[in-house]
Symmetry: C2
Subunit: 338 residues, 2 copies
Amino acid sequence: MAKDGLITVSLDAMGGDFAPEMPVKGAVDAVRKGGVEVILVGDEEVVRAELAKHDGADDLPISIYGSTGVVEEGEAPAQAFRSKPRASIFVATNRVKRGIADAVVSMGSSGGTIAAASFLFGTFDGIERGTLGGPIIGLSPNTMIFDVGVNVDVKPSAAADFAALGATMARLLNGIENPRVALLSIGAEEGKGNKFVKETTEILKTSPVNFIGNVEASDLPFDCADVVITDGFTGNVVMKLTESLGVALAKVIREYDSSTDNNELADKVFELTNPVTNYGGGPLLGVRGLAIIGHGKAGAYEVSQAIHTARKAVESDFIAVAEKEMNAMRKSQPASAE
Amino acid sequence: MAKDGLITVSLDAMGGDFAPEMPVKGAVDAVRKGGVEVILVGDEEVVRAELAKHDGADDLPISIYGSTGVVEEGEAPAQAFRSKPRASIFVATNRVKRGIADAVVSMGSSGGTIAAASFLFGTFDGIERGTLGGPIIGLSPNTMIFDVGVNVDVKPSAAADFAALGATMARLLNGIENPRVALLSIGAEEGKGNKFVKETTEILKTSPVNFIGNVEASDLPFDCADVVITDGFTGNVVMKLTESLGVALAKVIREYDSSTDNNELADKVFELTNPVTNYGGGPLLGVRGLAIIGHGKAGAYEVSQAIHTARKAVESDFIAVAEKEMNAMRKSQPASAE
């Protein structure tokens, strides 16, 4: 934390589809809201020129730190970490590792951010990879779904860790005392589902989380649980399908009847299916440092929201508490569970 | 086919959430539309009483055939086949096997219908289990997705068979000459996805179907392909999530602004996300007989639509053509493909 009480956020100014314009604008908006200072990490000249477009930027708590190159969407992250260690996401994450910033925020390649956080922060004891999730179905804003794409071929034991991490996040960020944890399946009855679901069910039944059983995709919009666990392939499909159905239906609504103005209703439908525009991004869980992963298509508003999500997580001491709870859960877990 | 030129459909009158009322009403509606006669299979007294509620039913081409018991939703189908062989779905399917009916239609337990068709009709050479799919995203009515829940832990080689079967269905039922076949993944680039996707990609690349590569869930509402292949777990999630988001959003639209009547728009959104109400149900692919699997919540309209889907499939000689094309594809497939 900076000396003046502000939380310091290291922002990947080169990450995302609309970088550096939107990250820089988002940073300006975020610091104007107060409570944070931002280090813009990127090509110094480019970022300085972008920042100069904002009147009065010199007086804001924003600094620039130079980096070279960007991890592109689709690039193999581990390879990028070796071949371009000065790329913006690695330099930005390193600001946190060195204690200069409290959290890193990126709208760039999720794979790059995950690699940076995993390699530089390290993972919690017993966790192989972090997990990413959040309230991806805006119709049910208190239901957080894990994993949404970090772990595509996930072991049942790892999924049980996601359950513990997700429950901690629901408690700390959503204020839910004893979060209901469910497993996504294709039938509510026990015994339905694929091999992954059946094996994960057995582990969750003996885990200390408040496991309420299986839910179906048809339950997801209706507040069926506080935390829903699924493999990262299915979770990613759920997230992207929800977003795109919202986009398509908002268009149908907007164009339905030219004699009435349905724009407000279309916007509402879009918001209810594309909630990441509100929360901006979520923390990678299971790593020993705070990394907020945002949406590649983020505009300035989403960037600003993601920066403030980072601030809130720092204020709640999210990482330390999550690691402590995770370890406590693992200790209380019966040996027979794995 | 009956002597008077009508297609004969054997209907499980006891299957579905609203049986026998809705199956019986759907049968009456279907025969009144013409082209079909229906055998209602179920508890004779119950079905006769239900049919008697319809004026003039005696003069319609509807007959009743007795069965005992029902396969309940969630019941283990293989076990039910042994313990209650006279249950409605088994008796109804047997009408087809014996050549008395041309197709069987059921709104009851999908597992029961699949077991009945698999055991009584047998599967195509080299096919272990049939596959079920269809245009489950109404926003993109020409995109058929396979599998939607029959095969939850599916082998890549079986998925390649679904691709051939799905392409045949797209050609015969949708009239698409050279259907574009895609694989659902979590990134359009090759190399993204889980183990199943990566292995299936290799097989599809050398298969005779018109494989256009991977699509993401975000592409599904936008006519990205004619046939999309996925494992039955993911496909079931896609189907149920689409339906339930439609239900939830239709409610939001209906209740949005009490000063305007948004009911028509809400109905439209519901239809675009719950298309099974239009096509009623789809054929189980890969079995040597025609079984149409409908939605458990089907009303009379959906039952009638499913009966006419059966009629159309019989008229196009769907099963024989599908088996022939399937075998041709397997023969032309390079040995290296598996």
